[in-house]
Amino acid sequence: MFMFVLVGAMFGAGTIAQAEAESGGASRFIRDLGDQAIQVLQTPDLTLEQREDRFRDILRQGFNLDFIGRFVIGNHWRKASAQQQADYQQLFGEYILQTYASRFGGYAGEKLAISEEKPAGKTDVVVRTRINRPSGSPINADWRVRVTDGRYGIIDVMVQGVSMVLTHRQEFSGLIKKSGVKGLIQLLSARVDKLPATTAMAK
C-alpha cells in the first residue's frame, strides 16, 4: 500500500499536463503490444533466442526507456557527466529489455488477458493484465502507461504488485552511493555481457 501511494506521488509530481488520453486508448495500446507478442510466441521454427529478440523489439517500442532510466537513478542523474548519462541510458535500456524479454518472452502458449484500465494520478493510466501460462500459475502484470509527445509509453510494470522502477531504484541507490554512477555502469555492463544457454560441449 505504501509502495503504491509512493509511486503515485512520484509519478504525479512535477509533470506537465499532457493531452488527455482517450478513454480505452491505453488498453488498446497494451492489447496491440500483447497481440504482437503473442504472434511472436506462435511463430513456429523460431529459436528461443530469436523469440526473445523479437520480444525485445516489441518492448523497445512499448517502454518509455528514457523516462524509466531517468526515474530509476533519480537525483544522481544530474551528478553524472554527459558521457556517463549516455552510457547509462544505453546500458540500462539494454538491461531492461533483456530482463523483461527473458521474463515474458519465452513461454510457450502464453496468453494475455486485459482485466481493467483505471486512471492513476493526473496523467497516467494503469492497464491490469493477467498472463496465463499452460504450466505454472498465472502472473498479474499491471502496466502504467503515460502519453508523452503524443505517444503512449509504458513507464512502469508491476509484476505481482511489485513495481519494476521502484525495485531497480532501490537496488541501484545503495550501489550509486557506494561506487557512483560509474559503479552502476559497471554492474549493468557485466549483467548484459553474460552468455545465454547453450548445447556446446566443453573444449
Binding site: L48, A108, A190, T198, T199
Partner: protein
Amino acid sequence: MKNTNSAALGLIAAAALILSVWVSPARADFEAGWQAYQRGDFAAALKEWRPLAQSNDARAQYNLGILYDQGKGVDSDFEQATAWWQKAALAGYAPAQHNLASSLISGDGVEQDYKAALEWLNKASDKGLARSSYTLGKMYHYGLGVTKDVERAFAQFLKAGEQGYARAQYNLGKTYRDGDGTEKNLVEAVKWYRKAAEQGYAKAQSSLGVRYARGEGVAKDEMQALMWTILAANQGLKRAVDDRAYLAKSMGPEKLAKAEKLAADWKPTAK
C-alpha cells in the same frame, strides 16, 4: 532376401539404439532438456538438467545456472546461478567461466572480486571465447582489478574483434579514432565501426553515421550518414535520435525519404 535384410537392419538399428542409450544416457536427457527449453517449457528443462547437473555434467550445470539467473521455470536466484556456474567453471567449461566472471564483476550472488574475475576471463579467453577477451579488454581499459593498461586493452579488443564480436569491433573503432592504446588511424576506425554496424550494433551504426557526415576516415556521404543514423535511432539510441533530426533538417524531405528507404531495406549480416 529382402526380409533377411530388413530384419538385419532392424537388429542393427535396435542395437545402435540400445548402445547409444547405454553409452550416453546423459546426452539424451540433455537434449530433452534443450528441446523443452527451446519450446519455452522451462519447468521441463529444469527437470531434465538438474539431475545431470547434480551428477557433474558441466553443460547442464551451466544451463541450470541460466535458468536460475533469468528466473526461468524457477524463481530468479543469483546465488544458485553463480554456484552452478562455479562448479562448471572449475570443470573447465568456458561459458561458465565467463558468466562466473560476470557475477564476480557485478557482485550478483557472490562477493565482488575483480581479481578472481580476471583469472576466469583469462581462462575462457585462452579457450577462444571472444566475449571473454572483450571483457578482459574492458577490465584493462578501466583498470579493474589490474593496473589500467590501454595497450593490453586494445590487444584484447583486437582478439575479440577479429573473431567477429560486435562490441569489441565498436571499441576498436573508438580506440583507433582516439589513438587510445594504438596509433590514431581514422580509416581503421571506420573499418571496425563498419564491421560492428553491419551486424546491427546500434552504437557502431551511430558512430559510422557520424564518420560519413564529417567525412572522417571515409569520403563524406550524407545519404550513408543519414541511413546509418536512422538505423541506430530505430534501436532507440538517444544520440542517433538527435543526430537524425539534425541531419534530416539540412537534407530536406526527398533525401530523407530516400535514406529511410535505404534503412528499411537494410539487413544485418551474420557475423
